[in-house]
Symmetry: D2
Subunit: 422 residues, 4 copies
Amino acid sequence: MKSTFAEALRSGLDRQFCNVRRQTESLCEPLSPEDMMVQSCPEASPAKWHLAHTTWFFETFLLSEFVSGYKPFDPDYRWLFNSYYNAVSQQPVKQLRGSFSRPSLEDILAYRGFVDAAMLRLMKGDVPAEVERRITLGLNHEQQHQELLAYDIKNAFWTNPLHPAYRDGALPESGMARPVQWIGHEGGLVEIGHRGKGFCFDNELPRHKVFLKPFDLASRLVNCGEYLDFMRDGGYERAELWLSDGWDMVRAQQWRAPLYWFEEDGAWRVFTLRGSVALSELIATPVCHVSYYEADAFARWSGKRLPTEAEWEIAAEGVPVNGNLVESGTLHPIAANAEDGLQQMFGDVWEWTASAYLGYPGYAALPGALGEYNGKFMSNQMVLRGGSAVTPDQHVRATYRNFFAPASRWQFCGVRLANRQE
Amino acid sequence: MKSTFAEALRSGLDRQFCNVRRQTESLCEPLSPEDMMVQSCPEASPAKWHLAHTTWFFETFLLSEFVSGYKPFDPDYRWLFNSYYNAVSQQPVKQLRGSFSRPSLEDILAYRGFVDAAMLRLMKGDVPAEVERRITLGLNHEQQHQELLAYDIKNAFWTNPLHPAYRDGALPESGMARPVQWIGHEGGLVEIGHRGKGFCFDNELPRHKVFLKPFDLASRLVNCGEYLDFMRDGGYERAELWLSDGWDMVRAQQWRAPLYWFEEDGAWRVFTLRGSVALSELIATPVCHVSYYEADAFARWSGKRLPTEAEWEIAAEGVPVNGNLVESGTLHPIAANAEDGLQQMFGDVWEWTASAYLGYPGYAALPGALGEYNGKFMSNQMVLRGGSAVTPDQHVRATYRNFFAPASRWQFCGVRLANRQE
Amino acid sequence: MKSTFAEALRSGLDRQFCNVRRQTESLCEPLSPEDMMVQSCPEASPAKWHLAHTTWFFETFLLSEFVSGYKPFDPDYRWLFNSYYNAVSQQPVKQLRGSFSRPSLEDILAYRGFVDAAMLRLMKGDVPAEVERRITLGLNHEQQHQELLAYDIKNAFWTNPLHPAYRDGALPESGMARPVQWIGHEGGLVEIGHRGKGFCFDNELPRHKVFLKPFDLASRLVNCGEYLDFMRDGGYERAELWLSDGWDMVRAQQWRAPLYWFEEDGAWRVFTLRGSVALSELIATPVCHVSYYEADAFARWSGKRLPTEAEWEIAAEGVPVNGNLVESGTLHPIAANAEDGLQQMFGDVWEWTASAYLGYPGYAALPGALGEYNGKFMSNQMVLRGGSAVTPDQHVRATYRNFFAPASRWQFCGVRLANRQE
Amino acid sequence: MKSTFAEALRSGLDRQFCNVRRQTESLCEPLSPEDMMVQSCPEASPAKWHLAHTTWFFETFLLSEFVSGYKPFDPDYRWLFNSYYNAVSQQPVKQLRGSFSRPSLEDILAYRGFVDAAMLRLMKGDVPAEVERRITLGLNHEQQHQELLAYDIKNAFWTNPLHPAYRDGALPESGMARPVQWIGHEGGLVEIGHRGKGFCFDNELPRHKVFLKPFDLASRLVNCGEYLDFMRDGGYERAELWLSDGWDMVRAQQWRAPLYWFEEDGAWRVFTLRGSVALSELIATPVCHVSYYEADAFARWSGKRLPTEAEWEIAAEGVPVNGNLVESGTLHPIAANAEDGLQQMFGDVWEWTASAYLGYPGYAALPGALGEYNGKFMSNQMVLRGGSAVTPDQHVRATYRNFFAPASRWQFCGVRLANRQE
């Protein structure tokens, strides 16, 4: 019995492996080898590097450890494409990734093929539990890099003065914004964190009790029209609306709008993966590419606040994971369109929460080098929830904790407001 | 009846006011006007500036608002000695405070006298509740600056290549370190945050429920001997012990010991407010001037962890506020010496917690300019608890939340470990 | 008669144009489109950008001005590939050139073809003198970028951790170093600066009188063996050998050898355009990639000095322009091999002089935008003379003034000593 | 005979020594010990440090070397007050001089007295030639620091938001500007550099021949009115007027006027050592505190140029050293007032020349540590000539070469134009 079940599972893993791997490559279809060289900001990596590093993960943590006598595709790749795992090897300085013209894209695609073949062999027959766990981790890792690849290519094309589009075709019609409803929750002693047998990252564990006061969550995300009101009300000029560090950023970076907004002939336009679009056409769509500081200032200006991650998770519990995720093909947040009820919880934009990214009570990192995956980043970052228009739907869930530095805004991130808590 | 009580209270306020104001000046007794000019690191201000700014607080928030027809000592001081209250006025750039040779120390002392006299007049007769609240806030504000003054003068004398001592006289004998005991707590649904009628800062409110798992707290602070073991075990060379941001700091700043430790003729010495001392004489005293990153790395190396602020507060509840605070006159942490039981909760060093500095559920800043006191700093900082050897005993309490950036270590800060939480 | 002569001249110009343009492309033969994207240091540009910008020069300063009704290949290119000519248009920030994945290499090659064809049409028939002057300037401009392209691709491959080689094939055998001879010159009231009808840059004019004391010039360049002696004698640790700014660089950049020297298994190796080579094989070859500060410190350590540009030019007068220039195909400096006499004046490495790069007496920049070519860089740079192993032989001459900031060393630059001057 | 002469000389040296040393102290009379602590920009040092360092010079290079058994005032001072003489000792980082609250001003004055007394004993009896040379060097060194002290205290008071005045009393009436006359010189093979037996710095030697074309020198300095015309004509907005490095500074530093000019209520004011003054009252006075880049841009805008140092020196030969030097007590440049002829060659402002600061042909630094005095700064600086309103008249001469980085402008520096040179 067990073996049949395992077989089924395995064949599922096979299929899932192939799907995820192909998806990464299909994201690169609109890109030339030259496009895949660009590294345009300190957060970003070239697309080619993402192709290689995700492959490195499987070679390093699966093939090298579980296939006896495995001969690597190229021994140099072990350190060349290591991102930050000190326990594996030293790493090239991140900013040099833009110098990796060699290995060529062709070489990297051959590397992918080589590792894929070896992985498929490994997945034949009995797959030990640890191998399966690591493959699943590797696939989730690759999905994260799919999303980063979208962020990075957007920034690459933005810093190109010609502002090329990644994909052709118009965004869906935005429609009219509906008024926000406030969805009440009673709070109390609740539990958050992952449960059950499905995959999760170590930072979603352990499931634990949290006490919440009653709260309200906005039925939809803050949209561009609302954000424009904030700007027009002097949002970027009023110190009293900002955290002190945020205000320092506003002045140092001369922020006066979200990233990718620019003025042309006196009107705002927004650069998207489909080229630049008049802001007027996006008024009802969720504001995107705002930092935590901007999200927080907007909330203060609104007389509301950002939700905590526990509030968000309790509200999201039981909500099906669907919405404007990468499978929708929009590649940009779209307007909420339901008559009422909680909307846009998954997809569109990652939602900044008021919670710092720290370990849950009893948090333990994975053993060995894989323990560097999440734990060592638990300082100076804020938690975001819910996925974005470039997140795979198989990747995100209610307990998923994304995290970024409060000043970063090249990722697809936006704002949902919360209310009440006295 | 009420009037008698108010009278007594007021006269208490009088006395308290005078005590706190005199205490600031007595901290400056060992300093020359030249010493009081030094601003030796971005976190620090000159001592003279502290004398002026604490006075500015009373003139700005009390005299100018509650004394009709009040004529300020010098109208320029309103903006000159403003630290960061945007709602009051623009402020000189912080790093320029070292250029304030004028007004002279003599002028600032005259300013203090002028404001003190006006304040004592204000405190005569019926004192409205809001006035009393603000005076109390002003006194707590001044006590915070007393502590900062100690940090700053220590750094000033450290950057002077001659390493002068602030006070003469030896530190107390350190004695032997006793083994740590683990004090158990059962956790559960508990309450933290300030209650009752006494003064607290807005960030200690509202009192609220938190769910805690059972945990153990170390009976005493980590001492220099234990920290030296960490160093000798390669603590500053092993990436796996560090948060990623911490490891970046170690390499960028070339940290290899706590701040104020230096090697001379092959032996470690420690610079203190009483001059430099051989580390060997301080082995049993709490390690001091370590950043959050170092505290966290030490805890990881120990196989333990830092407590959360809620754990710390629950453990501290009911513990009397005494210990090695500024009144002890040591000006440096000293060794724990009790046979057993929880020790050093108050005084010695501020204890880094694993909690980010954020608003409690339902937190509301004070209205108006005073709302800038605490709330706008709620990002990128960690909470510390318990006070230090340079904290006034009337200033600290179990619910008191101090906060600093994780990389900062010029303040008197150290480590208490926690354990168990599965 | 005149027309026949002009015809011949023109056909010479045609041929020269084609030769120079083809040479740029042939330099790119070993490069993939990905290689041509890399921008690895602030001084450098991607190879593709060099291909485009040199073409832009002809389109902007020839076709757009002298071909009536000329329709540009792409109107955006006018500002996109402008380097620093403020009078033409605004320019993209230099560091963004690495983001120009679009236009593709294919587009840029089409741009080259389009402009080449239009240029050949322009060169048909009577070519006005100003057109001819500008074409010649454009060709010299392109040759400068050929050389920069070699510097930049060397740096690109160096920052690639795999250290790929630009060309295969070994460097010529280095042989033994011969002792330096001192070639005497009597000085006096001499003339320097360009004369005659041939092309020169504006900065080589006007020819003018300079008074020189008698001096000696070394018969050959300083070689790697001699430079290694300097290093072994503590050259990089002895402040007294250095200019103050140079010593600051040594400490800030932790310089301890020329650029592209690295230690492997305890032995020095040198990265070249043909991959890395043991220093032991290059002992007799000229030291290359040292900054002005290093050249100056080496000279001081030797008890000698660097020549002034006037001394160098007087010594070079009448010396035929041949030697190890780009046509030799070595792509690296090679050892001097003549029995005696002045050697290596042209080719191998640009020779740092003791002269600051300033305008000659009566210097006047070209009118209009082309006046920005040279004149605006006349501060904070030093003059270098003689060309390098990657300089075209038709490009350099005795009066040619190259210039770089004293700290820069990614260019092919080395040292010739001078002596006597009391 | 010789001894009598030596006696006279010595007593002259005595007197000179006392005069210079007293002059330094009298410059500090308007300053409090607190004022003498301020270090307000990277170029500046605290006044107290100048008092100490000039004394250190005599103790280090005279008393320690020529007085057998000399016991220093405090052995720590040898390294503490060393500025940049690597051959003497390591030095504290320059930016830490603002932390030297100890030794106190009182201590430093005692140090001065101690060293003065020992120096006077040394000057009794036969003074060896080398001792006399060094004393003279020490006095010239001290005069340079007197001038730096004036720059530094001006900057200190400028960065104090209260803008205190160093001295009371109005500046002299500015009067009307007279038109510039062009004073012709025929050029030819001339000699520059110091000659004769009087003191000079090593960088004024050797006297050597230079060939000059005929040139014209402006009869007076550029004044504020003329500079204002440049500003109003878009001087700070027109890239074509600037050297490339200068234009980068304009944008990075947001320069839009000389240092110490500021706008108040729509009108320009100028901060001086006598407090701030309306620009309208200074229209005919020489513009001051402009960088080399600004001087060069102004000259280009004028259709003129800056003189070379050789041109300046030839024009200054035989001109008596008098004018608005420190002895005039103005502490600020004043308007030229003669009917005609060459004016303002000495005093008012140091005049930027078009010459880079390099060694003259055959230049040799002094032997030993004193060789670090001038030679090691011969890169990245431009020569200025003529002295300023804060230069002692005994200090400057026609051959005197001052030098500063082209971007620096906290020193008293301005512009004289030259013309003709074809």
